[in-house]
């Protein structure tokens, strides 16, 4: 694992499943997301929800996500990297996001 965002690293774009805006609801930093493809309803709390929301607005690569994470949540670089990876892995496991290479 490299330390710090490496500008040369080839990173794919992360994007969310194409879900209508009406199926993403937020109350007090808790997001409820309905996936009509699978019929599943997901509760995404805090950072996981915020990350999903960013990605739903527009696809981003991992570096952008890490930068935003450092800016918005004040994480250290290395923490931010691991944190984003963990969040993305969880969202991918739920089939809500995928990486376009």
């Amino acid at each position: 694992m490299v330390s710090g965002p490496d500008p040369a690293a080839p990173t794919g774009l992360w994007q969310t499943a194409a879900l209508p805006a009406a199926h993403i609801r937020e109350w007090a930093q808790r997001w409820v997301v309905y996936d009509h493809r699978t019929g599943e309803t997901h509760l995404l709390e805090g950072a996981a929800g915020a990350l999903f929301q960013w990605l739903h607005q527009t696809p981003r690569n991992q570096r952008e996500l890490i930068e935003k994470c450092i800016q918005d949540w004040g994480h250290e670089v290395e923490d931010a990297e691991a944190f984003i990876e963990q969040l993305l892995a969880e969202l991918r496991r739920r089939q809500l996001v995928w990486e376009r290479s």
Binding site: P20, A22, R25, R30, G39, E45
Partner: protein, 301 residues
């Protein structure tokens, strides 16, 4: 346009079947069982329609289960349009079987609503929805509310319109279980409670007839105002605790019979409901204390 109940009821039940107007549904019930005639006569007289009603939503029959076993252990069977989806139950449980079977019919077919497993009562046409697992106390609470000036919409189903977000009443007998039966009888002597059926899968069960005022307004929808999730908690303090809306939505989705059938439409309706209602949890321990907590709910803006 209910017809006056007649001594004819057992004959109608035996022959062409009695159409009952139960909220938005018409159920044509036939049965040769005297216990069914007695319970229908007690609970459903106001809801009886003329026998020549042209269309019924459900064709239900309750009769003795066939077979030699019936000689020494008579049982009742529930038939929906000729097919029998459940195991038979002892004959003494024929009326609870009708009520449970009807729940199943509605849950299978009423997809023009988001159907939530919940008790519903209204004050000035503002509705309180109480989803809850069996044993959470929702039937007891809704019976007590209905006997204290609230309008009973339903004991089992919140029928949420997908078009306008209003709740359609489904006034049916409230199913009281075990200790709730003497509790309601003593606290509200005017309550009309039918015969108890013992040793059912839910213990002893008796049905309370909806108050006439609730039946008279069976076609008047109500606007959702409060979403309260009761849970039976001996030693609880019977206060309402605010519930995060996101959590309320997930719990609500779990409590809906047809959430998965309705897909996105169901999610949108549930999310709107949660958004519009005050959401709270109630640790229910004492009927009077819980009742005053619910009575004190502030009117929706």
């Amino acid at each position: 346009m209910a017809v006056a109940v007649s001594a004819d009821l057992p004959r109608i039940l035996r022959t062409q079947g009695a159409p009952l107007e139960i909220g938005p549904f018409i159920v044509r019930l036939s049965s040769r069982l005297p216990a069914i005639a007695e319970s229908i006569g007690l609970h459903y007289t106001e809801q009886l329609l003329p026998a020549d009603t042209p269309f019924s939503d459900f064709h239900v029959r309750l009769d003795r289960a066939p077979g030699v076993r019936g000689v020494w252990r008579p049982q009742a069977r529930f038939y929906l349009d000729g097919s029998s989806p459940f195991k038979p139950l002892p004959l003494s449980q024929a009326f609870p079987l009708f009520e449970w079977g009807l729940n199943w019919c509605i849950a299978q077919h009423g997809h023009h609503y988001l159907m939530i497993h919940a008790a519903v009562a209204a004050r000035d046409d503002q509705a309180l929805i109480m989803p809850g697992a069996p044993g959470a106390g929702k039937s007891t609470l809704v019976a007590a509310l209905a006997l204290s000036g609230w309008r009973l919409l339903s004991d089992e189903f919140a029928l949420l319109s997908l078009e306008n977000g209003l709740l359609t009443p489904l006034p049916r007998p409230v199913s009281l279980k075990n200790q709730a039966i003497p509790l309601i009888r003593e606290r509200f002597p005017e309550a009309v409670v039918g015969r108890s059926a013992h040793e059912t899968t839910k213990g002893t069960v008796a049905h309370m007839k909806p108050p006439s005022a609730s039946l008279a307004r069976a076609q008047a929808p109500a606007r959702p105002a409060w979403l309260v999730f009761p849970r039976f908690a001996p030693g609880g303090d019977d206060t309402l605790r605010e519930m995060p809306k996101a959590h309320a939505l997930l719990t609500l989705a779990d409590a809906a019979f047809n959430y998965s059938v309705l897909g996105g439409q169901g999610f949108e309706a549930a999310a709107e409901l949660v958004d519009r209602c005050a959401c709270a949890q109630l640790d229910y321990a004492d009927l009077d204390r819980s009742l005053s907590a619910l009575n004190a709910l502030p009117d929706a803006p």
